[in-house]
């Protein structure tokens, strides 16, 4: 399936026009910064088969109730393939999560992760999925935009399971979580430099100073720069 060398890992799709995405943007215009995926809506040029496309979900009862209960929290909402994503303001995140857990019975945090949008500001999206057993297995996805280096408030006080998930995001993306009880690296080792899931981290690895086979890998960790096995991406 090696069809074309286009690098999908380099931010918004290359084939997309520069900025005509504005009018269709489903997010409230008052939130220029924290929109999810700057190039979310698909502009004209309809594909042959009908592809799923996001629609605005601000009118959903859950989103409307959240916006009313925590003023200023909801920056936008959209629905795609039946899954609702609500974009939240970082400073209202914990308050909104508490409301969703206590009032709307979203007692189960399914997962928490981040996405690096290298060239966008804010650079990262931290993504949460919530699940409610009482509402007939309803799920909702939350997103907050976090600039590079800025902390994201922790939700480990709301759902205990966020503890390791936030540690993983801290480890692999370098997003510090404000108020986290035990913010240490979890998958890489203590003392590791860098955050592997950032888009600017090389796929072939970095020199960690661990010279296991010094004759073959003279720099330490990964293959030498002139090694033909070295794979260069991005």
């Amino acid at each position: 399936m090696a069809d074309e060398p286009k690098d999908a890992a380099a931010g918004p799709p290359a084939g997309e026009p520069a900025k005509p995405a504005e009018p269709a943007k489903p997010v409230a215009p008052a939130a220029p910064a924290a929109t999810p995926a700057a190039a979310v809506p698909k502009p004209a040029a309809p594909p042959k088969a009908p592809m799923p496309a996001p629609v605005d979900a601000m009118g959903e009862p859950l989103v409307a109730a959240l916006a009313a209960a925590v003023p200023g929290a909801v920056l936008g909402a959209r629905k795609m393939v039946g899954q609702t994503t609500v974009t939240l303001a970082p400073d209202k995140l914990v308050e909104a999560c508490r409301h969703l857990k206590d009032e709307d019975t979203f007692t189960f945090l399914v997962d928490l992760t981040a996405v690096d949008w290298k060239e966008r500001d804010p650079r990262f999206d931290v993504v949460y999925w919530l699940h409610s057993f009482a509402r007939g297995n309803e799920r909702v996805r939350l997103k907050v935009g976090v600039p590079d280096g800025a902390p994201c408030p922790t939700v480990s006080g709301v759902w205990e399971t966020a503890n390791w998930m936030e540690r993983e995001v801290f480890d692999l993306f370098g997003i510090p979580f404000d108020g986290h009880p035990d913010l240490r690296r979890i998958l890489t080792w203590d003392g590791f430099q860098g955050h592997p899931l950032r888009k600017d981290f090389p796929v072939e690895g970095i020199d960690t100073g661990a010279a296991i086979y010094p004759d073959r890998y003279p720099d330490g960790g990964g293959p030498a720069p002139d090694d033909k096995n070295r794979k260069t991406v991005s």
Binding site: D3, M80, T107, D111, T161, T188, V203
Partner: protein, 385 residues
């Protein structure tokens, strides 16, 4: 049974230690056989009693999620095999479901049934492996030989179907690559019909076994509320009496048409988790028999839907999950419109379930820790990714 394998540094010199506080820090693993891989648990013990247990993971971290971003959609499927490497089919399934969801694809019915067959065979083989190792951890060696006898048949059937026994690489976006080989369904049916009596044999060995009961009853209790707080899914959640299974809660493929129960326990302990997994073996057997009937009645049909030659999901994101043998296994796919995912996150049930270990182990004996690690049913390939 579980001797200390070293100390994680001497107890810090303080007034308390000099006054004779008996707490000691021990490393359990990363090379201990009962940790099922390279898992290290830093224990604080007071004599034989566990004061705190802190899991230390990441020894098997291979950067799978980073690799996903450099490969095209079809190339990712073999990587998913290596997450939970004893249940490759469910990993494949969760991944292709996420891509199909974002593409808006319809899957042919025959492919759905074959996928469910593969999933349920995988669930049986994973539970059999769990039963074998969990029993060995507690000193019962015989169940190992019994369960591996049946697991071998399943692996042979996998080999017959797709050529691989463990890393199956058996599903494709939009359906399946391979049609069933001739006579495969009959072989599967013969095995499945036989399986019920085999499960009775395991139960003969363990269910009323006094040693097994004494080692497991009341050990590692995690009730429903705490399970949900820790995000624990799968058999541990059901053993707490909470009837929740992704196959019923968020149905996928042809599961709504199949008749099966969700077994639950009530005491939320290691013994109930054993009973739940045994009951799940029986339910998987039921599902397999129904699928055999359907596939025999519908011997031909499409096994792959209309899939574009180059898979390029639209810009956006989607999450899809399946009930893997360990719990809810999900894939979150973010597409920027290219032929490679922009980000592909795995929701690993082993990783999330393992987080509850400190709470389950607190106050128990060191030898109970072995039972508790076994009962969560972790696979380190999935924990560390």
């Amino acid at each position: 049974m579980s001797e200390p394998v070293g100390t994680a540094g001497a107890v810090p010199e303080s007034a308390e230690t000099m006054l004779g506080l008996r707490e000691m820090e021990l490393n359990f693993g990363p090379q201990h056989p009962s940790t099922h891989g390279v898992l290290r648990i830093v224990l604080k013990v007071d004599g034989e009693r566990i004061v705190s247990a802190r899991p230390d993971v990441g020894y098997l971290h291979r950067g799978t999620e980073k690799l996903f971003e450099t490969e095209t959609y079809p190339m990712i499927i073999p990587h998913t095999d290596r997450l939970d490497y004893v249940a490759a089919a469910t990993n494949n399934h969760a991944y292709v479901l996420a891509v199909e969801k974002l593409l808006g694809l319809e899957i042919p019915r025959r492919a759905q049934y074959i996928r469910v067959v593969l999933d349920e065979m995988q669930r049986i083989s994973s539970h059999l492996l769990w039963l074998a190792t969990a029993a060995i951890d507690l000193g019962a060696i015989t169940p190992f030989f019994y369960t591996f006898r049946e697991r071998e048949v399943i692996l042979d059937l996998f080999e017959d179907y797709c050529g691989a026994r463990l890393t199956l690489n058996c599903m494709r976006v939009g359906g399946l690559q391979e049609e069933l080989t001739p006579g495969w369904i009959e072989k599967l049916r013969a095995f499945t019909e036989d399986l019920g009596s085999k499960i009775d044999e395991y139960e003969d060995l363990l269910t009323e076994n006094r040693i097994w009961k004494e080692r497991t009853i009341g050990v590692g209790i995690l009730n429903t509320e705490r399970c949900i707080a820790w995000g624990v899914t799968g058999p541990p959640l059901r053993a707490a009496g909470f009837k929740w299974d992704v196959r019923r809660a968020i149905p996928y493929e042809c599961y709504p048409e199949l008749d099966f129960e969700i077994p639950v326990g009530k005491n939320a302990d290691t013994y109930d988790r054993y009973l739940v997994r045994i009951a799940e073996l029986r339910q998987s057997r039921r599902i397999l028999l129904q699928c055999c009937d359907w596939l025999t009645a519908n011997p031909t049909g499409e096994i792959r839907g209309k899939v574009p030659r180059v898979i390029k999901p639209p810009v956006g994101d989607a999450y899809a999950s399946v009930e893997s043998p360990k719990g809810e296994l999900g894939f979150y796919l973010v597409s920027s419109g290219g032929n490679k995912p922009y980000r592909l996150r795995v929701r690993p049930p082993s990783f999330i379930n393992l987080q509850a270990l400190p709470e389950m182990a607190r106050g128990h004996m060191v030898s109970d820790l072995v039972a508790i690690i076994g009962t969560i049913d972790i696979v380190l390939g999935e924990v560390d990714r």
